[in-house]
Point group: C2
């Protein structure tokens, strides 16, 4: 209950109308720690009962992105994934299974952008690690 109210307040604070569909999309994203595609959110929401149409999920995700509650993550070809963790953080992407995991900002410190040529005004950065996750390591051995 508390959680739901918090979501409603957050949406309102960003000037978004609170509709059942939009609520469901955002709640779903907050609830899961993977980085689902629009398609995955859609099917997840409609699993038990039809909740939202495809285009609604797309526009909801876009609206949430625009106000900064959600961000797009581009780590894989062709599809766009979404992440409700908008605090700065990095990503680990498994080469084998495609799984994506958040890496805490503090776990990768030491990136110094001093030497980047001065013409470029750097506002943010993020690191993408690639490699092999535990499951795939044991599966391959």
């Amino acid at each position: 209950m508390r959680q739901q109210d918090a979501i409603i307040q957050t949406l309102k604070a960003k000037g978004l109308r609170v509709t059942p569909q939009r609520f469901a999309v955002y709640a779903n994203l907050l609830d899961r720690c993977d980085h689902p595609t629009a398609e995955q959110v859609l099917s997840d929401l409609n699993q038990e009962a039809p909740t939202s149409s495809q285009s609604t999920v797309y526009t909801s995700l876009q609206a949430l992105c625009e106000v900064g509650l959600v961000r797009e993550v581009l780590l894989e070809e062709g599809v766009c994934r979404y992440d409700a963790n908008v605090l700065p953080h990095h990503h680990f992407c498994c080469r084998c299974c495609g799984r994506i995991e958040d890496i805490a900002w503090e776990d990768l410190q030491g990136v110094s952008i001093d030497r980047v040529r001065s013409g470029l005004q750097v506002e943010s950065y993020e690191v993408t690690l690639r490699g092999c996750c535990e499951q795939c390591q044991s599966a391959n051995s």
Copy 2:
């Protein structure tokens, strides 16, 4: 001429057949320092005379990727860009115009992955800087 021979040798060394179309795709990528989309390569090649079909450009790019002569760069929604610079390096992506620029590997040293949890086997990483390029800075002011 030397350049052309070098390209031919490189392709052969990777076990790829040297065809006019594949040669043209790779030469085009090497020649430009931006990171074109498949679409851009296609229209560039066919600007003066029809050289390659759409699907040939796609399969050529894929073949070049597979042997490691070219890599995909995913910095922008929806489209896949290609980069003939396969030495490790980072990217700067302009928030305003979308321009992408290579950042030399040495210019961003000091990323230490020690603190990443040990279950993840990190094989490579790259940093994406986001911000505003010179042109856009002066355009906005």
